[in-house]
């Protein structure tokens, strides 16, 4: 069976947080309402059971618990979710089982317990190692706590640990970003995600920027931050395997690679998205509606849309896309459809193409101006 005819990964969404960050527009709710957590866990277990046989699932399908902050869901609930996944055969011998966690929501004991449940990779929302920046973002932890959690996770037996950082946030400077990146790598991390800030509609951050209470660093400063991150991190041995992701060899997120390789995955929980290979199915982002099993949206994609999405997702990675595979999967001859634009992009130094392997990939400049390439396919 082809890898694109069965679910290769399972995503489970946990929409709870201690406190909602200023820039966040993910489905999450702040505060720990036990009743809501209980009803949500029930609904989620019900969905897991109901959808287990929807499409064949690879025995080594990856597992990813994301949020929100999965680590705020008390252990008994997490245990029920994991047990249910195992009972129905969605969790067999995962290549990787990741859970997202935030400093301030875990202890050495809870980390050990997560490890015991079967999670072997942890992704930590660190964001910055400057306390004033963390406060400004609405994070609940300090730099000290972040470093401590790293140590605890390693202590608990996690061999694969990732940290997230943000650059371009109001108040950040090139020096402060440099200090956070260097400080975090000094802790011996093997995987790092560094995201340029995206200001999302409807977030408190967007309102504060609109009203002038906050202002973003200027374009040139953010450009300098980008240049620093994209040069410095690879120099430390973590290669840039996706636009915002860096890892030592073998430490790449296998689950996230599924998204970029555009193979089928099953998304469970509020706001979770499933890709069947033909359609995108998105659960309601409203927890109450999700609990009632309502408002699921199905977007059936045409062959050209599928081809387009697979191209711009695949080009995000350093390995690029194999056009032969695109043709086999979607019947799309990329050159005949986008030839003129692709030639222009190659001429502008954004893309490189290897005719022998039929692999198209972004150059370093292409990663910097990726949207100019991605838009070709939209």
């Amino acid at each position: 069976m082809n890898t694109w005819q069965q679910y290769q990964g399972i995503y489970v969404h946990i929409p709870f947080c201690v406190h909602k960050c200023l820039y966040c527009d993910f489905a999450s709710t702040a505060g720990c309402d036990t009743a809501l957590m209980e009803s949500y866990t029930q609904a989620l277990c019900k969905e897991i059971t109901a959808r287990a046989a929807e499409l064949p699932v690879a025995a080594d399908a990856t597992i990813y618990f994301g949020g929100g902050t999965p680590s705020v869901l008390p252990l008994p609930y997490l245990t029920r979710l994991v047990t249910t996944l195992k009972d129905v055969g969605l969790w067999q011998h995962p290549q990787e089982a990741t859970i997202e966690a935030n400093p301030g929501t875990v202890t050495e004991e809870s980390l050990e317990a997560l490890r015991q449940l079967g999670f072997d990779r942890i992704s930590l929302g660190i964001q910055s190692l400057q306390d004033d920046e963390l406060r400004a973002m609405g994070r609940i932890h300090t730099a000290q706590e972040a470093v401590e959690v790293l140590r605890q996770a390693r202590q608990a037996g996690f061999e694969r640990i990732s940290g997230d950082l943000i650059y371009g946030y109001p108040g950040q400077t090139l020096a402060s970003v440099q200090s956070s990146v260097q400080g975090l790598l000094a802790q011996g991390l093997d995987h790092l995600s560094v995201y340029g800030l995206t200001v999302e509609e409807g977030t408190p951050l967007q309102r504060k920027l609109a009203s002038g209470t906050l202002s973003l660093p200027d374009d040139d400063t953010v450009g300098d931050m980008y240049d620093f991150v994209t040069t410095y991190v690879p120099q430390q041995g973590l290669s840039r395997y996706e636009i915002s992701n860096y890892a030592r060899p073998g430490q790449e997120s296998r689950h996230n690679m599924l998204y970029w390789r555009y193979v089928p995955y099953l998304g469970l929980g509020a706001a979770a998205c499933t890709f069947t290979g033909q359609a995108l199915v998105t659960n309601s982002c409203d927890i109450a509606k999700y609990n009632e099993g309502k408002n699921r949206q199905i977007e059936n994609l045409t062959q050209p849309e599928l081809a387009a999405e697979s191209l711009f997702m695949g080009l995000r990675t350093a390995q690029g896309v194999n056009l032969q595979e695109t043709k086999e999967r979607f019947g799309c001859d990329t050159w005949s459809r986008y030839g003129r634009e692709l030639d222009q992009a190659i001429h502008a130094g954004l893309l490189s193409y290897d005719a022998a392997s039929q692999i198209l990939r972004l150059t370093a400049k292409g990663m910097q101006y990726g949207n100019q390439v991605f838009a070709i396919f939209c």
Partner: protein, 599 residues
């Protein structure tokens, strides 16, 4: 026997917003030509654009049946006139088809420059003018002051001015009676050979060109062979009729009557406004006076943003030209913009209307270069070149001197603003002619101004320095020598022909600086740095730089995000589509108008 004793042909002269269309609606309603149920506000403005902008572009004619207080039945033909300076010639033809005119003046405002120009036109045609003071229902109405102004400024007896409110219907009956009693019946000769004045035309996909006309002498009927006296083209009449306001066929139209005629005419060029229709078998000795070909005053380049739309643009222009003989165009090529058309218009409004119709009715995305006038370039070898495109301006070494079109401008303004108006007009290279007090508070000023300054930003500035109180009218006066130079714009060191402008030498440095600054703000950052220069010949007079965009990439894209991110990228692509690729630089459409909108 004369049959035209019961006919009255009239038009309405009014400043924009003084209530012409509303009054026309009331007259139609009052005479029962349309029931209230059939009334759609502002019947006469039949183009969507006219309704939206509240202006009339095409002339229209409506035939009203009216039983007067004397017990007799009358046919009142209302010929509506365009209300904008761009269409003065059309107005003059519509007025020539009438014996009288209603002069509608807002009781709260008084006479405006545009009204004045049209009243003088009406006087030239010996029209009986009936002053109508509108909006008397408004608390700020001051009909006595307006009457005084009419007498002082226009020398028209205002003692019998009709007071009305087109909005409430007050005084509408009095207007109808005044039309019957005061406007003379047409005095044509039924036995004479046919002479009918064309005052507008419209293209109909089934009937061909439909002529709107006033029969002056003789009669026209279906089947008659007619000749257009200016173009000498002959046609056979397929239909004659009147507008009530929907077209109704009649057996014939005779002297004094107003209506329409169709004769399978394929192109409006063959039957132009102002031409005389006569009987081909028994032609009139002379055409009616006053015919002239409409001449464009303003030129600009029209280019499809997507080069593959070139043929569609040509088709669309050809179709619009069927309906609008004053639109001229010919293919041109720009190094920067590719293939497009150089188009001539009667004025800026005309340009706007055509551009909007092309985009709206033909779904084209267009790029307009900054409009310019026609320059008369006298070469050292004695030749004279008429240049309608700045990029074709000859090299300074072969130019002896250049002349540019001037207009006579009439500005009416409250006296407190006289200083500001004079200062502005001086700045715009105006030559003061004279000034008259209309009453204690309002002043009429005459200036001779370069047309190019009017096109540039004179009117906007005039409105702003007078807080909107000034009204302006102008007519082409002739060419005068000017010290003009061509300013070129270079992007990335490459001249962009479509951005070249002709400006006065003394202002070249200031305008060049302002233009590059404006362009720097308009041109979005791109993947590389873009130097912008203004130059006269090889001498750079101003320089700015658009610095490079540092990055442009979606930071995050995971499973749940794909559709939303795809939509963001689609939006980005849409934005790009509206940009014009000039060499390696992407230019927004506004860049080409930057020279016009500088503050």
């Amino acid at each position: 026997m004369k049959r035209s004793y019961n006919i009255r042909n009239f038009s309405i002269i009014a400043h924009i917003d003084h209530g012409k269309s509303t009054l026309a609606d009331r007259l139609i309603e009052k005479t029962g030509t349309l029931s209230q149920r059939e009334m759609e506000d502002q019947i006469l403005d039949s183009l969507d654009l006219e309704r939206e902008r509240g202006i009339t572009i095409k002339a229209q004619a409506v035939c009203l049946d009216y039983q007067a207080q004397d017990g007799k039945d009358y046919l009142l033909n209302l010929i509506d006139t365009p209300g904008h300076v761009d269409f003065t010639y059309e107005v003059s033809r519509a007025l020539a088809a009438c014996e009288g005119a209603l002069l509608v003046i807002d009781a709260t405002q008084g006479i405006e420059a545009q009204t004045l120009a049209n009243v003088y036109l009406a006087m030239e045609h010996d029209l009986e003018i009936i002053p109508v003071i509108n909006k008397i229902d408004l608390p700020s109405a001051d009909p006595e002051r307006v009457k005084q102004e009419i007498e002082d400024v226009l020398g028209i007896d205002a003692s019998e001015a009709v007071l009305c409110s087109a909005k409430t219907g007050l005084g509408v009956e009095d207007i109808l009676e005044a039309i019957v009693k005061r406007i003379p019946a047409p005095s044509g000769d039924n036995e004479a050979p046919l002479q009918a004045l064309v005052f507008d035309s419209k293209f109909d996909a089934y009937k061909g060109v439909v002529l709107y006309m006033r029969v002056v002498n003789g009669a026209v009927r279906k089947g008659m062979k007619i000749r257009m006296m200016a173009t000498n083209k002959e046609f056979e009449v397929t239909e004659v009729g009147v507008f009530k306001p929907a077209p109704v066929n009649v057996t014939e139209l005779s002297e004094g009557e107003v209506g329409f005629l169709a004769a399978a005419i394929k192109n409006v060029k063959d039957a132009r406004v102002g031409d005389t229709v006569t009987n081909a078998l028994q032609p009139a000795a002379k055409p009616l006076p006053g015919y002239r070909k409409a001449t464009p005053m303003v030129y600009c380049g029209l280019y499809p943003v997507d080069n593959s739309d070139y043929d569609n643009l040509r088709d669309a222009l050809e179709k619009l030209q069927l309906n609008d003989a004053s639109l001229v165009f010919e293919p041109e090529t720009s190094v920067a913009l590719g293939f497009g058309f150089r188009c001539g218009f009667l004025g800026l409004l005309h340009l706007d209307v055509i551009k909007e119709r092309l985009e709206r009715e033909y779904s084209l995305t267009l790029l307009t270069t900054a409009p310019n006038v026609i320059y008369e370039v006298h070469l050292t070898n004695g030749d004279i070149e008429m240049v309608d495109n700045p990029s074709l301006f000859p090299s300074p070494t072969v130019i002896d001197h250049v002349e540019e079109p001037y207009v006579n401008a009439t500005i009416i303004v409250p006296k407190d603003y006289v200083g500001s108006v004079m200062e502005l007009s001086q700045e715009k290279r105006g030559e003061y002619e004279n000034m008259t007090y209309l009453d204690e508070t309002r002043v009429m000023i005459h200036y001779s101004l370069p047309l190019s300054e009017i096109i540039f930003d004179y009117f906007d500035r005039l409105k702003s320095v007078t807080r909107g109180y000034a009204s302006l009218d102008y007519e082409l006066h002739g060419y005068k020598p000017s010290n003009l130079v061509k300013v070129d714009i270079l992007l990335n060191g490459e001249p962009v022909d479509a951005l070249s402008a002709i400006v006065h030498r003394e202002k070249a440095a200031v305008r060049g600086r302002a233009l590059v600054e404006k362009l720097r703000k308009l041109i979005p950052r791109q993947m590389f740095e873009i130097p912008i220069q203004a130059a006269i010949g090889s001498k750079v007079i101003a320089r700015e730089t658009v610095s490079a965009m540092r990055k442009d990439v979606l930071a995050k894209c995971y499973g749940g995000d794909i559709s939303r991110k795809r939509k963001l990228l689609e939006k980005q692509k849409e934005g790009k589509k509206r940009m014009k690729q000039v060499g390696s630089v992407e230019l927004p459409q506004e860049a080409f108008m930057a020279i016009l909108k500088m503050d």
